[in-house]
């Protein structure tokens, strides 16, 4: 007997008898046998499994939150217990895609509310009920831009997350789209003069991150001025959107990003969730599942999936995307988190992250290091360290501190650079300790 499989020998016999066969193998008569026995261990009891997993987990170093000075797409924020508790409810965790709306109103309403919150943050008119992550959301946004104007050249800022650019290239490689990377000016913003000169008749979209990968708050108004006729795609960070003017104000067509900061643990990078918002005029070109409000036959309010003809299960090869399974549970987690923090709590996180990051930047500069850019930054900033920063970074880690990301991983021109980050979880004491470590001999 196995804990998850209820069949007793007697029941198996009864069932075989009802089917009219003698052995289970009789049900497999069309199926060849190619394995005698799988080369994986025999099943284990729960106690042994648990201790095995616990010992594997211990091989990962868990850094105390206040000692994390790295972001670069995955952020360490405080997650209230209530978020964990509510989002772990089995009615959410073990439900399927809401294909039977009448018994999925919990899912549908929670996602409808999530869509509303994403619209509020981004200023956009329509948000879908989630994508896999920020990177794939961007890739899908670029494919959507191509559907909007049928043009081919994508102008993408150098300060968009490198893994997002890599993902977008992979997604679009078969669609005859070309990418041109637009460099930055001295303040760390996408160079609008270069952008302007790069635009031609076949230019499809411009992609800007806000704040950008280096933490700099891009001037979206200036971008829009030079790229009026392009599909304007903005990759945004949700906490920043509580204090920065939303991309919609500056004429964004599509706003995407990663919802990880909103109540999702770092989780070695996944699962997180991608958010995806656009304007009503583009909605039929949009990928992903959409929830809408309606009424039932008795006139009661309810929610259903809408505009499904865009999706793969109906439109097949002509669908706006192949996406089916999305990240609904993580989207609902985002909504719960925003419900707990509220507008003021969200803003407070933004303020604290900003204040801590600026304190950190000052302390690092006092040690004689220089910031790479002089533009306004939110809670991340790029700083010139030394050529051996990568090894220094590893040494600092052994002191229980996750130091800023070595930029040399992704950028030759910033080989001695680091991308620092602070959020509300860092403290004055933890920042001071890190800065002291940075200057210590032998590190």
């Amino acid at each position: 007997m196995h804990p998850y499989i209820p069949h007793t020998d007697e029941e198996i016999q009864q069932m075989l008898h009802a089917i009219g066969v003698e052995h289970i193998d009789d049900l497999y008569k069309d199926v060849p046998i190619t394995v005698k026995e799988l080369k994986i261990p025999k099943g284990l009891d729960e106690f042994t499994v648990l201790s095995t997993l616990e010992s594997i987990a211990q091989k990962n170093a868990v850094i105390e939150k206040k000692n994390i000075f790295m972001g670069a797409g995955i952020y360490s924020h405080y997650i209230p217990q209530v978020v964990e508790s509510v989002s772990s409810r089995p009615e959410f965790v073990t439900a399927y895609t809401p294909y039977q709306a009448e018994v999925s109103q919990g899912t549908l309403q929670a996602l409808f509310e999530y869509q509303t919150m994403i619209c509020e943050l981004t200023g956009m008119e329509v948000a879908n009920s989630s994508m896999y992550d920020g990177a794939s959301a961007l890739a899908e946004a670029i494919l959507m831009a191509h559907r909007i104007n049928n043009k081919h050249k994508v102008l993408i800022s150098q300060a968009v997350h490198p893994e997002y650019i890599q993902t977008s290239r992979t997604y679009t490689c078969a669609q005859k789209l070309s990418f041109q990377i637009v460099p930055l000016n001295g303040s760390g913003m996408t160079d609008t003069a270069v952008l302007k000169n790069s635009i031609d008749d076949d230019s499809c979209a411009v992609v800007i991150q806000y704040p950008n990968f280096f933490g700099i708050v891009e001037d979206l108004r200036a971008i829009k001025e030079v790229a009026k006729d392009l599909v304007f795609i903005v990759v945004a960070e949700p906490f920043a959107l509580t204090v920065l003017e939303p991309p919609a104000t500056f004429g964004a067509d599509i706003v995407v990003g990663d919802g990880q900061p909103l109540g999702i643990p770092m989780s070695y990078g996944g699962p997180t969730v991608g958010f995806f918002a656009t304007l009503e005029k583009h909605v039929r070109k949009m990928p992903g599942r959409l929830i809408g409000e309606t009424t039932d036959v008795d006139g009661n309010k309810g929610y259903v999936m809408i505009l499904q003809t865009r999706e793969q299960h109906i439109r097949r090869e002509k669908a706006t995307s192949n996406i089916c399974t999305n990240h609904a549970l993580m989207a609902v987690r985002n909504a719960i988190f925003m419900g707990v923090l509220g507008p003021n709590g969200m803003k407070e996180v933004a303020y604290k992250s900003y204040s801590n990051a600026h304190y950190l930047a000052e302390r690092i500069q006092q040690k004689g290091y220089k910031l790479i850019f002089d533009g306004p930054f939110f809670n991340e900033f790029a700083v010139r360290m030394t050529d051996d920063y990568d090894s220094k970074w590893r040494k600092i880690f052994q002191h229980g501190v996750l130091a800023p990301l070595p930029l040399g991983w992704y950028f030759n021109q910033y080989k001695d650079g680091a991308l620092a980050c602070a959020t509300e979880v860092n403290t004055k004491e933890s920042i001071d300790k890190f800065v002291e470590l940075l200057g210590r001999d032998g590190i």
Binding site: R284, Q308, T309, I314, R315, K318
Partner: protein
Amino acid sequence: MMKKYAKTHEWVQVEGKVATVGISNFAQDKLGDVVYVDLPQVGKVVKKGETLMSIESVKAASDVYAPVSGKVLQVNEKLNDQPELVNKDPEGEGWLVKIEMTNPNELNELLDEGAYKKHCEEEE
């Protein structure tokens, strides 16, 4: 003017060189409640038999094929707000587009009302 039908369930009514196109009552009944009509751009050039546009119900998107070749002169903009006209009056107010024909001889390949009726019965 006589009305003609394509086997793919579009109808055509001709005045001079201009063909008004819609879908038949039989087709709208099969589609169910129309929720969206994806009208083509005015000026779009189509060949007979090619996809002209699509009509959507909640759980299906059906292509409408051009019954004649030509250029789209006009689309029924009313359908943007009232897609249900395709259900209510498919062969009248629920017309889809007007096409300026480039080859009126193609009309001869279409079915007249009697032949179309028979064709529908066979499909049933």
